[in-house]
Amino acid sequence: MTREAKPQDLFIDPIRVVNVGLETFAHELESLEVAVIHVDWRPPAGGDPQIADLLSKLGS
């Protein structure tokens, strides 16, 4: 059985970051030698709210 996940798990392992949004945050973490991967994020469905709504209904 897996141990129940707790917030303080975060204090044990080195921080490894997925950065979604402002790229400067990823560059700064890189400069601190923190493991980080930057997501080249764009608005889903090209910013079309109707499509975005359908996507969420279809489990995306």
């Binding site: 996940a5 303080q8 204090f11 392992d13 997925v18 930057h38 608005p43």
Partner: protein, 502 residues
């Protein structure tokens, strides 16, 4: 005669900070009255419409289209600025895509590259932030949501889901965290130590963690929870989870909680949880009245006091003698004792208000603490203490911590005010912040007359930050600014200059 020129680039996305920086550059060109580059969402188009930057092409743009709006004195100036903007866009794009290498577009793809990632740092526009946060939670990540404008119901749903999954949801509108010594979003380089911080306020966390660092101690973790966590609706979900985590963390000996005053029901819940802990706790609810507290808890009225209590009584900036430093300084003749506060940090603004109110002054603010009045109800001799990071100043513009130019207009107005006595400023450095805010401010103060208002400031940050605190202080002092060791002491200096420091 002004000309409005629009250009729409369909499907061209750049992050908002990049666009806002570009907007300011273009707006600063000769002959240009105003300029903005924004994604064509309804909200952005409204901003552009209000700024008289939207013509028919821009009105027709969709959310995925980049809209360039330029208002200029002449058609030629507008066209030149547009050409410049388009060229900058191409170059910024090229620098984003070095060598056409692949960069993941989705969290799912990113996690294939970094499968053991444990934290998602989310700073996409608010309307999209909750969806990204939910994906991250469901893939087992803790989440820090820097984005603001996330609907309250979404925040509640995310925090409940995070609680069920045992995952921290820091934010939305979480500006600061320091986890395992790693500064995230807007944060400072602070040594590890035994003080654990929880903050609903980004600049509050930055000030307290920096003051602790500058006095030689360190922090275990600094956990941001977002400005609304202690509201009645959210009920302090993230604060309580963070408290549980720090209470269980053997590296954390003492805990500090920083927030504006919580909803009374939430405050009760927090106090009850604090009472169940064996660790000493400092509660810093800026602007709150007294609270009934358990014996392991103390209430701090300012950020500085919170740091001092966490340091078990060690004084911050003890060598800084306010009376000695202000003895030779006089408000120039003909000027009043009125103080204008121009703050980048929201909680720093609140802390200053609390201290001025405590000295019996009349304070007005766009973000008034209890006892201060709204700007609309300011009277002639009111101190106007402004939070320039608030929505009304940052709509469509970068935060003044990122781009100190945002404060320039307000500073110019204050310097031009013939009756104003003292200008009170904060300067927040560290990761996420501008590379040299003091240099920018010093340049703006360079040619002011000798009989202008006196200028007092503090620098929130540490010697280990990329901007180096001492270098920033030196630049300000070189520009004739009196720099105090903390924001609270800067407010006290202002009081000393107006004769109310006791």
């Amino acid at each position: 005669m002004s000309v409005i020129l629009n250009e729409v680039r369909p499907g061209f996305y750049l992050d908002s900070v990049a666009l806002m920086r570009l907007s300011r550059e273009i707006a600063g060109q000769p002959g240009i009255a105003e300029a903005a580059l924004m994604m064509g969402t309804p909200a952005n188009k409204e901003i552009m419409r209000d700024a008289r930057l939207l013509a028919a092409p821009g009105e027709a743009a969709q959310g995925n289209d980049l809209v360039i709006g330029i208002r200029a004195d002449s058609d030629a100036a507008a066209r030149e600025a547009l050409a410049n903007a388009l060229q900058r866009l191409t170059t910024s794009r090229a620098s984003v895509d070095p060598g056409q290498g692949w960069r993941p577009r989705s969290l799912r793809a990113a996690l294939k590259i970094l499968p053991d990632a444990n934290l998602a740092l989310i700073s996409v526009p608010g309307a999209y932030a909750a969806a990204e946060a939910r994906k991250a939670l469901r893939r087992g990540l803790h989440v820090l949501i820097f984005s603001d404008n996330v609907p309250l119901a979404e925040e509640l749903a995310l925090k409940r889901e995070g609680r069920d999954l045992g995952r921290l949801v820091m934010g939305p509108d979480c500006g600061t965290a320091i986890l395992n010594g790693v500064p995230l979003a807007f944060a400072n380089r602070v040594p590890r130590g035994e003080i654990g911080l929880i903050g609903a306020s980004g600049t509050g966390l930055q000030e307290v963690s920096s003051l602790i660092a500058e006095s030689g101690a360190g922090i275990s973790q600094a956990i941001g929870v977002g400005g609304r966590d202690l509201s009645r609706e959210i009920g302090g979900i993230a604060t309580l989870m963070a408290f549980d985590a720090l209470d269980a963390d053997p590296a954390t000996q003492r805990i500090v909680l920083i927030s504006k005053p919580p909803h009374p029901e939430v405050a009760q819940r927090i106090v009850a949880r604090v009472a169940a802990s064996a660790k000493p706790v400092t509660l810093c609810f800026i602007g709150a009245d007294s609270l009934d507290l358990p014996k392991n808890a103390r209430l701090a009225s300012t950020l500085k006091q919170a740091a001092e209590l966490a340091l078990e009584g060690r004084l911050i900036g003890a060598g800084f003698d306010i009376r000695a430093r202000t003895r030779e300084m006089r408000i120039p003749a003909g000027r009043s004792r009125r103080i204008a506060g121009l703050f980048a940090g929201g909680t720093l603004c609140a802390e200053a208000q609390v201290l001025l109110l405590a000295a019996g002054r009349h304070v007005a603010s766009n973000a008034p603490v209890p006892g201060a009045s709204d700007l609309a109800r300011a009277v002639t001799d009111s101190d106007r203490i402004l939070d320039l990071g608030a929505d009304e100043y940052t709509r469509g513009r970068p935060h003044p911590m990122i781009d100190p130019q945002v404060r320039d207009d307000a500073l110019r107005d204050a310097l031009d005010d013939p009756r104003l006595g003292v200008i009170l400023l904060d300067l927040v450095i560290g990761y996420g912040a501008h590379t040299d805010p003091a240099g920018h401010l010093a340049a703006g103060l360079a040619r002011r007359p000798d009989d202008g208002p006196l200028i007092v400031a503090s620098v929130t940050g540490t010697e280990q930050d990329p901007q180096r605190r001492s270098a920033q202080v030196a630049a300000l002092e070189g520009a004739g600014v009196l720099v105090a060791p903390s924001n609270a002491q800067a407010a006290e200096v202002a009081l000393a200059l107006t004769g109310e420091y006791v």
